[in-house]
């Protein structure tokens, strides 16, 4: 009898442990999430956050840092294999850096587009709802970000497609943002969406549409990625150029010569690019000298996505494409005059001088340098090179002028790589996408 009682005791305890249900209090289940209007704002906020995150955070500075490395804005001082190879113009789809850049950019696009579709579906006033307008704006920006930096577009598990797909989608989302934000009376979103659409049209080669949109954006307008030191939205360009681990230097780039030497060792220079040579310091590779950027001053420094000044340069470039090089120079000087009228405090007493050109080739050189200075470290340079490499008459464009190597301590051991030597001016879609996506072959075909 006592044994049977023990047996019953054991079975009773076992029965008490039979409940296999568990809950995870720190996660939100996807079930019903996208059907709950009360969570709509959080979904849109997530999309906003993710665009900024993809631009500036993953793998040592996001696609902005990657584009800066692959173009001529930054030089790697890191010993990290991925950063070194990308800096040498040989990005690979299997590097962890490539994986993280692509993953963040792809998720930012998916999240923003999903937020837009969800907001449209759940909002009682989808044609004038600020959430719809905001989601549409960031869906456009996310597509622009991917199109600017990656070699291909991949939409929702589809095949590899040309990046024009990203820009065409961006035009669509910016258009939606303009319409809804106009109805909602959200002027800043309307202006930003015009600026974003101008950027996308420019990359598609639709110059007249680009110039038309650019006209809606005042020169002093700036739409930024907001960063703080207490969120996931951080300015990692600062962290890895001035923080504890300096993966990047301005040494070896033309900007080190074009900009202002903060130490005063070299007079002159463009005040939009301020650099700080550290003559006694080398990067983590113990080899390349450190010249630090001083544009960003901390992880909370915001980064421009759309600027009115770029709109003026879009108009100037449209003139160049049309063969009106003199009008382009006039536009650039008009911009400089406008910038001099309201100089930031970092300029001190420095001002921009007027520029000139004797022919179309020189005018292109001026524009290339002007865009470089005005949009330095804002994630635009790589897309600029890709566009310039495809404009009519590219062979006449003196790229080498803007890629002239800086003095190296040992040039034979450390030859700088010209954009002529870069196989492709874009970041590859990651191997993880190619392996996971049934519509893409293993070799990326």
């Amino acid at each position: 009898v006592r044994g049977l009682r023990l047996l019953v005791l054991g079975l009773a305890i076992l029965a008490a442990a039979c409940d296999l249900r568990v809950t995870n209090p720190s996660k939100i289940k996807a079930e019903d999430l996208l059907e709950d209007p009360s969570l709509l704002h959080a979904i849109v906020v997530g999309a906003v956050s993710d665009v900024g995150y993809a631009a500036l955070v993953p793998s040592f500075g996001g696609v902005v840092a990657a584009g800066g490395l692959l173009s001529d804005e930054l030089v790697a001082t890191s010993t990290r294999q991925g950063l070194r190879a990308i800096n040498d113009g040989r990005p690979r789809d299997d590097y962890s850096e490539t994986r993280e850049w692509w993953a963040a950019a792809a998720r930012a696009r998916w999240t923003a587009e999903t937020a837009y579709e969800t907001a449209k579906r759940l909002s009682p006033t989808p044609d004038s709802d600020p959430e719809v307008a905001t989601a549409a704006l960031y869906a456009g920006l996310a597509n622009r970000l991917s199109g600017d930096n990656f070699c291909h577009a991949v939409i929702n598990g589809g095949p590899l497609e040309p990046t024009s797909v990203n820009f065409e989608r961006a035009v669509g989302y910016f258009t939606a943002a303009i319409e809804v934000a106009t109805a909602a009376g959200l002027d800043s979103i309307v202006t930003a969406a015009y600026g974003g659409r101008a950027q996308a049209h420019m990359m598609l080669g639709n110059w007249s549409a680009a110039v038309a949109d650019a006209r809606h954006v005042p020169t002093n307008f700036v739409f930024r990625i907001l960063n703080t030191s207490q969120s996931r939205n951080l300015n990692y360009i600062w962290s890895y150029t001035r923080g504890s681990v300096k993966h990047y230097t301005v040494w070896g780039t033309p900007f080190a010569d074009w900009g202002v030497d903060y130490t005063g060792a070299r007079p002159g220079g463009d005040p939009r690019v301020i650099v700080e040579p550290r003559p006694d310091e080398l990067g983590p590779d113990n080899r390349r000298p450190l010249i630090l950027q001083r544009k960003y001053t901390g992880t909370a420094t915001s980064v421009a996505l759309i600027k009115g000044s770029e709109m003026r340069l879009i108009a100037a470039e449209a003139e160049l494409v049309a063969g009106n090089w003199s009008a382009a120079i006039d536009s650039i000087n008009a911009l400089r005059t406008a910038l001099n009228a309201a100089p930031p405090s970092s300029w001190g007493s420095r001002r921009l001088t007027t520029v000139s050109a004797a022919n179309a080739q020189e005018a292109w050189e001026v524009l290339m340098q002007e865009r470089g200075m005005e949009l330095w470290l804002e994630g635009r340079r790589l897309a600029d090179y890709r566009r310039w490499a495809n404009v009519p008459g590219q062979n006449a464009v003196p790229f080498r002028r803007v890629r002239e190597p800086a003095n190296s301590p040992d040039p034979e051991d450390d030859p700088r790589v010209s954009v002529y030597q870069v196989d492709e001016l874009c970041l590859p879609v990651s191997l993880t996408e190619k392996l996971a996506n049934p519509n893409i072959g293993v070799g990326g075909n």
């Binding site: 044994g3 956050s49 939205n233 113990n286």
Partner: protein
């Protein structure tokens, strides 16, 4: 979040959990005891006693440590040094009494016990050439002799390994069995290990076996103690941790090893990686024994081991130092009548060969067994351990001392070595394990037991960079805590019947498990000035927390047929359910079948003493981690309107099932030439279906986080060979040698998506190749990442009665290692414009040989023992890892870097395993 509030809430939470657990155990224990005991108290008859001596039938000498069990009761005794034993408190009646001891065939006698009388029952045991260790882990209370099991099992007894030089359970397991490979992350005290049993199964890298201590499951997650933060966001230096090493080997009587599913099928969804069933010490017989042990030793890593870098010699001169280790152990064990006890305490301290590395450890254990009445026994096991480990950033960390110093010399790479020495990174882990077992014999042939257990573990990690450091100019403090409560119960019942020469044993069992984990993190940045070090006084603070829960229940039934003590056939099935499985796969069934045939003695085959043929088939599972079935979104901070945002998390696998490993093995054991040579050969063949693999969902679909899915099949087969030879067997010199060989050939037979999986670096999962195999950039196969063979051989030389010399060599080979060490060193050197073009150049053969153990011991003579008042005494000097040979020219071939990704056989700047020399003394009173 303020640190005080954070700490207080954590303490309160742990206290509540501890109190709850103790209450539960006390309630169940009290209720069970009183309920079961109530009908017996009034009818206790005047008891009788059995006494006797267990002797060898060949030599006539007493057999020490023989177990004498009165069948049909819970009464058990152990023989003393001269073989004498005593079992008291038996109700009058007829009993079958069984005696068994290692190396002897068991014997059963029937005897009549009268009230108030003492009856004599001597045993003469016949030596057996077959493996006779008792294995409890296969479900039968009291254990089953190995030779009756068709599946390979093994037993490791700490008392039989060299008396000095083995400090931790990980070290105890190293090179002890063919097929059981223990790879430390590096050579710093307190670092954890990767355990492989019969190679890598599946594709997930989850290789840790299930660990059970006295019937209580313990938490031994492969997650690191130091590295993993909430959602993996925070790194604490990337150091591995092994829960196994919380258990003092001084307290262990034996470890039963079930290497794979063929033996461990009864453990169902947790048995695929095998089982380590740890049995701690008990009281012995009706005597009391006090044992003390002490050891002191040194460690070093010579200058040549750092020569991969041009800064190696400087690094050795500046930073590498002599390590130190000391240990002490005190135990008391014994018994009176119906009560037996064991209490032990261990203290250990180690200083590593690198600055700021070391470990302080102490543990206490108390075990008791009481038999309040003839058919009821109660056992209580309790153990507490405390480990404080200094594990600064190392391996591939940007802030690691070795990495910075070997790449950049005095100026470092990321930061200077001088600054790194100001960091304070460490771990404090505490574990309290308690179990209570109730045993009852309901009627003759039927026994059952219920074990209730609780394993409470908390781990407190700190990462401190003082004010003014380069990592953060204002300083940084991170405090990360992990609290785990694991409650388990285990019920098992055995019923044995005899039908002439056939015996049948039916075993029924049930298990339940509940694990709750809590992760809490506090961060502080920017101290106001130097000297501040806690989160509360940081200028910027933040916090995070997570909660996880798991539930398991399962049961099994097993039938064993014993035909004339020659043929043993077992068949069984287990069914279990696990909360981690998807709905369609929540409940799983695991069959088992095995047979062992002891051949009749074959006089015509000269030199053959005994032969046993065996075969086994079993299926066991590997359950996935918690919360992988659900598609989730995460909350993120955002600056947009000050509102939090939602972002995609895990894509989720709603039908996620445990991977299932089918194992078929067969082999034979032979004893030859008058037991001078014993051989064991086993062939095993495993097939892993629904293998768990960390797959990347297509990022363009919005869920870029890798997700564990059921992703293909792998095959794994090889041979295990063991040999023991008695070369000399005289009284002046006795010399035994032993060896083990293990081979493994693993192949991926299919991948669910049909595409290869990139693990990192040059390592891939590709069909037709081993998991984690190395490939060149052009796709050429280089070789496997895990050993295809291991060899151990050792020698045990006894000179006279007092001097012993033991040596053990260990080898692993046929595999490769990616040297991120050399990649980093090359990239920091000349020429700068030569990045890695093909990882093939940095994948090296990883074969190694080591003199794992070497010890010389001296037993004190009787005269000295008399003078000192001792029963026994021994002096010893021993060494560990005294010699190594490796082809790999990085720092250490026998290491791995990332405990979160154990399939990555890649090293950065892992500390070499140091050479250790230890002096020891032990005495028994």
């Amino acid at each position: 979040m303020h640190a005080e509030g954070f700490a207080a809430s954590g303490i309160r939470m742990r206290a509540r959990r501890l109190t709850r657990s103790i209450r539960l155990l006390a309630l169940i224990g009290f209720g069970g005891i009183t309920w079961a005991a109530s009908p017996l108290a009034a009818q206790a008859p005047a008891p009788g006693t059995i006494v006797g001596q267990v002797v060898s039938a060949v030599t006539g000498e007493g057999v020490r440590g023989a177990e004498i069990m009165v069948l049909g009761t819970t009464r058990t005794a152990f023989s003393a040094t001269d073989g004498a034993y005593r079992v008291s408190g038996l109700a009058p009646g007829s009993y079958e009494v069984r005696a068994r001891a290692i190396g002897f065939e068991e014997a059963v006698h029937r005897i009549e016990v009268q009230a108030n009388q003492t009856v004599a029952l001597p045993f003469r045991l016949t030596p057996s050439p077959l493996p006779l260790e008792e294995i409890e882990a296969i479900g039968v209370r009291g254990g089953v002799a190995q030779h009756r099991l068709g599946a390979v099992t093994a037993v490791i007894r700490p008392a039989e390994v060299p008396p000095v030089g083995v400090h931790t359970l990980s070290e105890l397991l190293q090179a002890r069995l063919p097929g059981l490979q223990v790879t430390p992350q590096g050579g710093k005290p307190g670092q954890g290990s990767r355990i492989l049993s019969r190679g890598v199964r599946g594709m997930s890298g989850r290789t840790t076996p299930l660990v059970i201590v006295d019937g209580v499951r313990i938490h031994n997650s492969p997650e690191t103690g130091l590295r993993r933060g909430v959602d993996g966001d925070y790194d604490f230096g990337g150091e591995a941790w092994s829960g196994l090493d919380d258990i003092s080997i001084d307290d262990i009587d034996r470890i039963e090893v079930l290497p794979g599913p063929a033996a461990a099928a009864l453990y169902g969804s947790e048995g695929a990686n095998g089982v380590l069933n740890i049995v701690t010490k008990r009281g012995v017989g009706d005597r009391h024994e006090v044992r003390v042990r002490g050891g002191y030793g040194f460690a070093n890593a010579p200058a040549a081991w750092w020569s991969a870098s041009p800064h190696g010699e400087w690094y050795y001169d500046e930073f590498v130092r002599s390590g130190m280790e000391s240990s002490a152990y005190l135990s008391v064990r014994g018994g009176v009548d119906r009560f037996q006890y064991y209490a032990g305490a261990t203290v250990r301290s180690a200083k590593g060969v690198l600055p700021q590395t070391g470990q302080d450890y102490w543990s206490v254990r108390a075990n008791m067994r009481a038999e309040p009445m003839q058919a009821v026994a109660i056992e209580i096991f309790t153990g507490f351990s405390n480990r404080e480990i200094d594990l600064p950033y190392d391996a591939g960390s940007l802030w690691g001392l070795t990495r910075n110093a070997l790449i950049g010399g005095d100026s470092g790479l990321t930061v200077t070595p001088a600054e790194i020495l100001t960091y304070d990174v460490g771990l404090l882990s505490r574990r309290f394990t308690a179990g209570m077992r109730l045993e009852n014999s309901l009627f003759r042939g039927f026994t059952h037991s219920l074990t209730l257990g609780s394993d409470i573990f908390d781990c407190d990690n700190t990462d401190f960079n003082p004010f003014g450091t380069n990592v953060r100019e204002g300083g940084k403090k991170i405090n990360y805590r992990r609290d785990v409560t694991l409650l388990s119960l285990d019920y098992r019942a055995n019923y044995t019947r005899a039908f002439g020469s056939v015996k049948a044993t039916t075993t029924v069992g049930a298990q339940g498990m509940r694990r709750d984990q809590a992760y809490t993190l506090a961060l502080g940045y920017n101290f106001a000035g130097p000297g501040l070090s806690v989160v509360e006084v940081a200028g910027v603070t933040d916090g995070d927390q997570n909660r996880e829960a798991e539930r398991m229940m399962g049961g099994y039934v097993q039938e064993t047929i014993n035909l004339r003590d020659r043929l043993f056939v077992t068949a069984g099935v287990r069914v279990d359910g696990y909360s981690n499985h998807g709905r369609s796969a929540r409940y799983q069934t695991y069959p088992l079948f095995n047979a062992s045939w002891v051949l009749p003695r074959m006089d015509r085959l000269r030199g053959v003493d005994a032969v046993r043929l065996r075969g086994a088939y079993g299926v066991a599972g590997q359950t996935p981690d918690v919360y992988l079935t659900e598609r989730t979104w995460n909350v993120v901070d955002s600056v947009h309107n000050g509102s939090p945002g939602l972002l995609t998390g895990k894509v989720g696998a709603p039908d996620l099932a445990p991977e299932r490993v089918r194992e078929l093995e067969g082999g034979l054991d032979m004893s030859l030439f008058g037991e001078r040579l014993t051989l064991g050969v086993t062939y095993y063949d495993q097939r892993t279906e629904d293998a768990l693999v960390l797959l990347q969902a297509a990022p363009s679909l919005g869920f870029p986080e890798p997700q564990v899915m059921n992703g293909g099949e792998t095959g794994n087969r090889g041979i295990e060979l063991t040999a023991h030879a008695r070369i000399l067997a005289g009284t002046a010199v006795r010399w035994n040698v032993h060896g083990g060989l293990f081979t493994n050939r693993q192949r991926v037979t299919s991948i669910a998506r049909g595409k290869p999986v990139h693990l990192g670096g040059a390592q891939w999962i590709r069909e037709g190749h081993p998991v984690g195999g190395f490939f060149a950039d052009n796709g050429d196969y280089i070789g496997p990442a895990f050993p295809v063979r291991t060899i151990q051989f050792g020698s045990d030389l006894q000179l006279g009665e007092r001097i012993g010399l033991v040596a053990l060599f260990d080898h692993a080979g046929g595999h490769f290692l990616q040297s991120n060490t050399l990649i980093d060193l090359m990239q920091a050197g000349d020429p700068i414009s030569n990045p890695v073009n093909d990882l093939r150049d940095f994948v090296f053969p990883a074969d190694y040989w080591r003199l794992r153990e070497l010890s010389l011991s001296y037993q004190l003579p009787p005269g000295a023992l008399r003078i000192l008042g001792l029963r026994a005494g021994r002096l010893a000097i021993g060494g560990r890892n005294l010699w190594r040979s490796q082809e790999y020219d990085g720092l250490e071939a026998e290491a791995y870097s990332d405990p979160k990704q154990p399939l990555l056989n890649q090293t950065w700047f892992n500390t070499p395993l140091p050479r250790q020399v230890v002096l020891g003394i032990e005495a028994t009173f």
